[in-house]
Structures are given as structure tokens and as C-alpha cells.
Symmetry: C2
Subunit: 187 residues, 2 copies
């Protein structure tokens, strides 16, 4: 099922994300933030290398509450997802070309795979990627870089309930307000 | 010393960031990413509550290599930094008003404090903040939310060396290239 925004924005690319070098035991929060950022900014799925079923389950629980069809898919071999996106792999790296320089090209692709690594990435990723692009040329965060790219490609979603959501936020100047969404999943 | 971009962009706010609820022992990477994101996207400093001198030292080392004057400042009492930014505190929360709704107001402030919390924040923060603003109304990441706000306020920096940098990246379509910066710090 395409994400809610995808249906009404046919000119925007359908984006998947690949996260390399996840360390399940050591620091699940960072990859959880990456997965939730991918989801919140409209990506369809996160391929996770190596796989982490517990993390995938936690993110799926977020989707049951807040809607949409985002999923975390285990990727034991990171080269496999790349093969599904020929000529459409964006590797985010501080060593790459400025995002702005290639943005018009990547925005034209109907489907994109955005690849983010951790501290070290396999050297041949630079060759296999269609574009190696930098969001700023300073060390910062793959979470930040992914957010910027998705925001530019797909925009930041408004407060409307996502398809199948159980809950939806009612924006407030002060405090918190959450209501039951009208469009629950059938069953 | 103001950051390199601040000097040439007098119409942009000078931004500091306050991070609440840091858990030093548990997960330094997430706050490190937040600090580096604040730095890379042009904030002047990160107030860190509770303080974490080891983290501050690691971020300072990044600054010695890559330039600029960003600093991590320990904040044992989080209300103190707020008092230094009267009428100019932006609290990022998924429960807040859409960023877009108030963006023109925050962009006019000469100085801003952007506050990000962890899973739980003190209830009175919602009252003490000038604005409670959401970057999307879905759960994701304070790193992502901060990046979007700073990108909109200050823009994403290009590949130019920062003041005092030892090293600077030379953007590449493939691979990595780093050169010694011409403008080293004196001494």
C-alpha cells in the first residue's frame, strides 16, 4: 500500500532508505530515530543491514498507532536493495557533491533509494551509487542528512491523520492533545 | 566569536540549542549527533542538560579539525538558558503548532533558543516556551527536527572551509578527498 501522501503526489519520487552498518546491540536508538525519520518524512520503507527484527517490530508498532504503511525490511546483503534501484541510488556522505548540485536530477527519478551508513561504509558503495551527495560538508548525522533530503523531495507532512491511524495529534500552542482518528483500520 | 556564516548573514537569527534529558551513560551517540547537527547547520552552541564534559570535549575536537566556534555548554539547570532568551524560545515537540504557521515570527528574532527534549520533558517547558512547534506531527527524532528548523532558518552550509579549520572536504562525485585548510588558526 502506498503511503498516504504518495497517492496525491504522483510527481514525487517513491523513496526507500537503506541503512548500512547498524549495530543492533550497541545503540538501537540511533537507528530507531533514523527509521522514524524515514517514516515521518514520507519514505516507504527502510532496508536495514544487518537486520534487526526487534527494531522492525518497534517501528511497526509506531505505524499501528500513527498510521501509514512504512516498514523496516531486513537486508542481510546490502547489495541486493541497490540492484532494485538501477540508476537511482543516492548515497549520502559528507565527501560527496553538494546535494543542490544534483537535486534536480534526483527529484526527477520515479523511485529512489537513499543510502546512509554509519562511521564506516564499504568502499565500493561509492562506485555502486548513482550519486554520492553531501548535505553540508561537515560531520553531523545521518538522521539529519536524511531528514533534509526527504524534506526537499517530499515535504514535511502536516497534522492530518495518516491512513489507518488509531491516533492523531491536534496541534496546540501549549500542551498536548491527541484524539482518536476517524479512519481506523478495518477490523 | 560568531560563526563564519553569522558574520555575513546579519539578517539571520543567532541560534543556540538546548538539549534536555541527555543520558550520558546510556546513549552518547544520539546527543553527539544532535550536537554535530547543531554545529553543522550553523547554531552557535548547545546547552546540555545534564552536563556531559566528555561529550563536550569530543565535539570540541571536531571543531578543532573542521573549524568554527561551536561549543557544548553544560546546563545543570535548564531554566537558566531559557532566561537568557526572553520571548525567543522555540520548543520543538510533535504536539505543537506546525512550524510553518509561526516560521515568519521566529525568523524575525535576532536571537533564538531552540529546545529539544528526549522522551519526556518537564511539563512547564510548554508554558515557558515562546512557541511550541512541530516539524511534522509524527514521532521521529529531535535530530531530524533540529536539522529542518536550522536548515530553514540558516540554510545548509556549502563546502567552503570554516574559520580556523585544519581540514576541508573537496566534494567528489566518487570517493573521498580532504585537504589541509589554508586558514589555520594562528599558533
Amino acid at each position: 500500500m502506498p503511503s498516504p501522501r504518495r497517492r496525491t503526489s504522483l510527481s514525487r519520487p517513491a523513496v526507500s532508505v537503506l541503512r548500512l552498518g547498524h549495530r543492533a546491540g550497541r545503540d538501537p536508538r540511533l537507528t530507531t530515530h533514523l527509521a522514524l525519520t524515514a517514516r515521518a518524512f514520507g519514505a516507504e520503507r527502510l532496508y536495514l543491514n544487518p537486520p534487526d527484527p526487534e527494531l522492525a517490530a518497534r517501528v511497526a508498532a509506531v505505524g499501528r498507532t500513527w498510521g501509514g504503511s512504512f516498514e523496516v525490511v531486513g537486508a542481510p546483503n546490502w547489495r541486493v536493495p541497490l540492484q532494485e534501484f538501477p540508476e537511482a541510488v543516492v548515497h549520502l556522505t559528507m565527501y560527496g557533491e553538494p546535494l543542490e548540485r544534483r537535486f534536480a536530477e534526483i527529484a526527477r527519478a520515479p523511485r529512489l533509494l537513499v543510502v546512509v551508513g554509519g562511521a564506516k561504509v564499504p568502499g565500493d558503495l561509492y562506485k555502486r551509487a548513482t550519486w554520492n551527495l553531501a548535505v553540508g560538508h561537515q560531520p553531523h548525522s545521518e538522521v539529519a542528512a536524511l531528514a533534509i533530503v526527504l524534506d526537499r523531495l517530499l515535504g514535511t507532512p502536516g497534522p492530518k491523520a495518516w491512513a489507518g491511524a488509531e491516533r492523531v495529534i491536534v496541534p496546540q500552542a501549549r500542551g498536548k492533545k491527541v484524539r482518536t482518528a476517524r479512519s481506523r483500520r478495518p477490523g
